[in-house]
């Protein structure tokens, strides 16, 4: 056994131990989706085990109306849109993106952190700097820090266009949807760093759903899957933290306190799920002046889904990317139709980049395959 590859050994044990298991599992973190596809974990599972990707990519769950709003703002005089790079190619309501808006003269700059956007605002007082605040609980405290910094330094030309999401209402919407029957959940590792493992206790307690928090290395994902499959095989439903080196029971208390100070729970709009009460983060009244919707008196827009695009179904694990007529044809990473093809964490992009060898060989242009 010492000569063998330990990961191969682990996979082989899994395949033997759970060969007869029939279950549907879901992960809800875009980074997990990416690693699973890259390591072809989904193909190495026994036949009876389905592994779906859930609403774990913040870019993918953001409605097209939000992008439309950002595109419009980028055309306003003196406005500089700052954003994480993943949002640049996401189509808005009219199949146009922030990249297109930039080509049309819009001021758009990619930043590594919203704190850099605050610094740009400080050094460019003649500009209105807007940061596109997209993300889950992992990113919310970082955006809160940027707001706190702007407030402390009296920076008045910095605002956030908010689309921050809280994961729990979306998971509960999935779990009460009769067309999806999940037997187990891989909980998101880095989101849990902030919320703490205990925040996922409701899944086994209220829904009887076996739940495992795990890390991002290939071996860690197998570790999580093994723990989950063991629970299912034994008829148990509990919360297991297989990523304790980063995730504590209570989470990052400083981050949680900051989120409570700066934000107020609000409705959130999710692609595929619509508006879910309590699933978004708006601003506390002390921070309302940093809300771009208030500053620029924005009217709410309606999201328009691209015709034929299945992103809304794919996000919920109800459809696979290969079922979409656009997938790999009209929708590819260089010209995405829907958001799941844009972000490297999107389910469609992960399926596209790590298609099976045969599909890759059939593909005429494989130059951008990772």
């Amino acid at each position: 056994m010492n000569d063998s590859n330990p990961l191969a050994e682990i996979i082989s044990c899994f395949q033997t131990d759970f060969a007869a298991l029939h279950c549907t599992l879901m992960e809800v973190c875009g980074t997990h989706t990416h690693v699973i596809r890259k390591a072809a974990i989904h193909q190495l599972l026994p036949r009876g085990i389905r592994l779906l990707s859930g609403p774990g990519c913040p870019v993918c769950v953001t409605g097209s109306a939000y992008i439309e709003q950002a595109i419009r703002l980028s055309q306003e005089p003196k406005v500089l849109i700052t954003t994480f790079g993943d949002l640049l190619k996401v189509p808005g309501n009219h199949n146009n993106s922030l990249t297109d808006a930039r080509a049309n003269g819009g001021r758009i700059k990619v930043v590594y952190t919203p704190l850099d956007a605050v610094e740009i605002a400080r050094t460019h007082p003649n500009l209105e700097v807007i940061f596109l605040g997209v993300g889950f609980e992992t990113t919310a405290p970082v955006i809160a820090l940027s707001l706190q910094t702007a407030r402390q330094q009296g920076i008045a030309n910095f605002t956030i266009l908010p689309a921050l999401k809280v994961l729990r209402p979306a998971l509960e919407a999935l779990l009460t949807d009769d067309s999806i029957n999940l037997d187990g959940l891989i909980a998101p590792g880095h989101l849990s760093v902030i919320t703490g493992a205990d925040a996922f206790g409701y899944l086994p307690e209220k829904y009887g759903l076996p739940t495992v928090i795990t890390g991002f290395k290939t071996a860690e994902i197998w570790l999580g899957l093994t723990a989950l499959a063991r629970q299912i095989k034994a008829g148990q439903a509990k919360l297991e933290n297989m990523y304790p080196q980063a995730v504590s029971n209570a989470g990052n208390l400083a981050a949680q306190k900051l989120i409570k100070q700066v934000f107020r729970v609000d409705d959130g709009e999710w692609r595929g799920l619509g508006v879910l009460p309590g699933s978004g983060l708006g601003f506390d009244k002390e921070y309302l002046r940093y809300d771009a919707r208030v500053r620029f008196q924005l009217e709410p827009l309606q999201s328009v889904e691209p015709p034929g695009c299945l992103c809304g179904m794919i996000i919920l694990g109800k459809s696979e990317p290969e079922e979409c007529r656009h997938f790999g044809r009209t929708c590819r990473p260089e010209h995405p139709v829907g958001p799941c093809m844009v972000s490297s964490e999107g389910t469609c992009a992960a399926h596209f980049y790590y298609r099976d060898r045969r599909a890759r060989e059939d593909d005429e242009d494989s130059s951008y395959l990772g």
Binding site: C29, V142, T226, E345
Partner: protein
């Protein structure tokens, strides 16, 4: 987007720290991990440290393997 990368904290200046990611250094906000000290390994998300992680993280993963599948992880040592 929830990606977080571990790096070593090599200097602290007020609320900010310099973190080395396999030799590439970046300024990182430390306000979410105020207890961090030089030498700590930090998980960094969007320019902010969000957690202190043990330097021997890999060893911990192995310990978990040993709990769940005794014997298998021994080979990884």
């Amino acid at each position: 987007m929830c990606l977080a990368i571990p790096g070593e904290l090599i200097r602290i200046t007020g609320d900010k720290g310099e973190v080395s990611f396999s030799g590439v250094c970046r300024e990182v906000d430390l306000r979410l991990v105020p207890e961090a000290v030089v030498g700590d390994y930090l998980l960094v998300h969007a320019g902010c440290a969000i957690q202190i992680v043990p330097a021997d993280e890999a060893k911990l993963t192995l310990e978990l393997w040993n709990q769940i599948m005794p014997g298998v992880a021994e080979d990884e040592r």
